[in-house]
């Protein structure tokens, strides 16, 4: 469904896109992890706030002199912990993930604000900053590091979702939690792992975004969750769970990237770009509905005629 939109963007100059991919890769990684959460029937609205809190931890530790490497580790660890907290609240208290992650969206953002306050942390070491400009493969246009990372991540996630036992359990838990329990799957463990994964990935993205921006302030990553969720849903994953694919998320991300960059080149404002993505999202969900409506109508008529012909 979204392959169509990609086709229309082929006229773009590849090199300009590729070097702008940094932002999108962060969203893409979040979306990849979110795919797991959404497929198994949950949702995680707090990914951007988790990213922010992790970035805050990274920044503060760096400021107090901890070597950058350990700050990054701490960031990833923070993401993991925050993700686990989400999972534990949802599972142990039996609360809907929409509301819990709505709360932690605020909670973790607040945490970030408390950690960072009004200030800006900058002065990161030179070899740390600018990750998004590094090339893994040189030449023109070359392969920027973030894109390489994303490809690797996409492959890994693909394997987990579609080729591992956990992935199947994840999909089935989203398709029918009750049948999953009856089949001996520990649905709660599946959900917890998904939340932990999304938190950890947020922690990794925190490192990336800090490197790309070269500084950290408290509203880092504000609003990313919406784009990430859009990418997942746009990619064909059912918001209610039980159906979806990593490949869909990947294609959706590239579609978003293509649409936005195409609009940027035409000097169209960011808000309008978002609107275009929103429109794409709605069309992607709407068109199949319209199609299946007509298919159902046709089937019904067919069945009716068959029944009549039997008499």
């Amino acid at each position: 469904m979204i392959y169509g939109s990609l086709g229309s963007e082929y006229f773009l100059d590849p090199s300009s896109i590729i070097f702008n991919t940094g932002r999108y890769i962060e969203i893409g990684l979040l979306a990849l992890a979110l795919t797991f959460v959404i497929i198994n029937g949950d949702i995680d609205l707090s990914v951007a706030s988790t990213l922010a809190a992790s970035a805050g931890v990274l920044a503060k530790l760096f400021e107090s002199g901890v070597p950058i490497f350990w700050c990054c580790v701490a960031s990833i660890f923070t993401g993991l912990v925050l993700g686990l907290i989400n999972g534990l609240i949802v599972i142990k208290l039996g609360l809907p993930s929409l509301v819990v992650t709505l709360a932690t969206l605020a909670l973790y953002r607040g945490l970030t604000q408390v950690i960072l306050g009004d200030g800006v942390v900058a002065n990161y070491p030179e070899n740390f900053v600018g990750f998004d400009q590094r090339l893994v493969i040189g030449g023109n246009p070359g392969l920027p590091a973030p894109l390489a990372l994303f490809i690797v991540a996409a492959i890994i996630f693909y394997y987990i979702l579609h080729r591992s036992n956990y992935g199947l359990k994840n999909i089935m838990s989203g398709s029918n939690p009750s049948s999953s329990n009856f089949s001996g799957i520990s649905v709660n463990r599946v959900r917890l792992l998904a939340f932990a994964l999304s938190g950890t990935v947020a922690g990794i993205c925190a490192v990336m975004i800090t490197s790309r921006l070269g500084s950290t302030i408290s509203n880092v990553g504000l609003g990313l969750e919406l784009l990430a969720i859009t990418a997942v849903v746009l990619g064909g994953t059912d918001i209610f769970g039980g159906r979806g694919a990593i490949s869909g998320t990947v294609v959706a991300l590239f579609a978003i990237m293509a649409v936005r960059e195409a609009l940027v080149i035409q000097d169209i404002n960011g808000q309008v770009q978002d609107a275009a993505i929103g429109l794409l999202l709605i069309l992607t969900v709407l068109v199949p509905q319209i199609r299946s409506y007509y298919v159902e109508k046709r089937n019904r008529r067919k069945r009716f005629n068959e029944a009549q012909s039997r008499t």
Binding site: I89, L93, G94, L95, P96, L98, V99, V100, L102, A103, T104, L105, A106, L107, Y108, R109, G110, L111, Q113, V114, G117, S218, L226, I229, T230, V233, I239, F240, N269, Q271, V272, Q273, D274, A275, A276, I277, G278, L279, L281, I282, V285, L286, Q289
Partner: protein, 338 residues
């Protein structure tokens, strides 16, 4: 044989709103003692102003959530309505205030209609549809306004006055807030339509099989919240006198949904009260203002809101679970004993 829990159940219900009310009183007491400035009239009116807009939109969002939907686009709708109204006012400085308000509400209603159609006939889950329209409408705000902001001098005095005065001494803003809540309260507790709205959220398949016009009701609640968001746009303009295409209404949906959830409305639909939402709005308003006045860094506000949401939902959940267990156990134990 029914469990004689009638009186207990109604007691618990009252308890919920009462609990929030109590909590509000406690907060007032705490903030007031820590910092007497809290009770100064200009501070209180600041609280009421921010709460007012929240209440107007929250009233509408309550009904949306009751039907098992959600509207993430209210902020954008508010912005759109405000912007259109502002542009009309700018071009026609003598346009009647009442007319401006109506325009805003119509614009909001149209946005709501779009959402309603997508969710009902389009069968798009509300969370996705309104995620899309959130972006689309905001983009439309930009296009319509040509990225030109509405300045205070473009805003008619009449509009600005809405935030501060009215014939009876209480600002129109508060009157509108109050009226919105009363309207939702009335519809949900006294009218058949209101009961149908709750029925749709309580048991959607049952509603269809009972012949309730599911689509019409869905469209209606979205249009309603759209209209209220439009009104909110007017009040926003009255309060801030500036409409910036990028900022207006941004993030409003989060505050509104939080207030509704804290106020006791079940995210799965079927239950929730206007009063609860109103109290939720007041609670959030007092908390954020109070924290600032008392000197706590404003950064704790987000944390506090998050905790409130968790606490509210967790308490609701445990109460509900205990209720259900009691009912089921009593009924079942009767049967196995015989």
């Amino acid at each position: 044989m029914t469990i004689k829990l009638n009186s207990k159940v109604t007691y618990l219900f009252k308890k919920r709103e009462f609990g929030i009310f109590l909590f509000i009183l406690i907060l007032l007491a705490v903030f007031g003692t820590l910092e007497p400035r809290f009770f100064r009239s200009d501070n209180l009116s600041a609280i009421l102003s921010s709460v007012g807009i929240l209440m107007v939109v929250g009233a509408g969002q309550t009904l949306v959530i009751v039907t098992r939907n959600i509207d993430l686009s209210v902020g954008s709708t508010l912005g759109m309505a405000a912007m259109v109204m502002g542009m009309v006012a700018r071009e026609n400085p003598d346009f009647p205030i009442f007319g401006l308000i109506v325009i805003a509400m119509i614009v909001g209603g149209l946005c709501g209609l779009l959402n309603g159609l997508l969710v009902s006939y389009g069968k798009i889950p509300a969370i996705i549809a309104t995620l899309g329209t959130l972006a689309i409408i905001r983009g439309a705000v930009f296009l319509v306004s040509d990225n030109v902001q509405i300045d205070p001098n473009d805003v008619p005095q009449g509009i600005i006055n809405l935030a501060t005065t009215s014939p009876i001494g209480i600002p129109w803003l508060l009157i509108f807030a109050f009226l919105s809540i009363i309207l939702v309260w009335y519809v949900s507790s006294k009218t058949l339509l209101g009961k149908r709205i709750y029925a749709v959220g309580s048991n959607p398949e049952g509603a269809i099989s009972r012949g309730l016009s599911f689509n019409k009701i869905t469209i209606m609640v979205f249009v309603f919240v759209g209209v209220l968001a439009g009104l909110g746009g007017v009040l926003y303009t009255a309060r801030y006198a500036t409409i910036n295409p990028a900022d207006v209404g941004r993030g409003l949906e989060f505050d509104v949904i939080s207030a509704v959830v804290i106020g006791g409305t079940n995210i799965f639909g079927g239950s929730g009260t206007a009063l609860g939402t109103a109290l939720g709005c007041i609670l959030i308003g007092i908390l954020s203002n109070g924290l600032t006045v008392v000197g706590v860094s404003p950064f704790w506000k987000a944390c506090a809101t998050g905790f409130l949401i968790l606490a509210a939902v967790a308490i609701d959940n445990s109460v509900r679970k205990r209720q259900e267990q009691n009912f089921l156990l009593a009924i079942r134990n009767q049967r196995t004993v015989k």
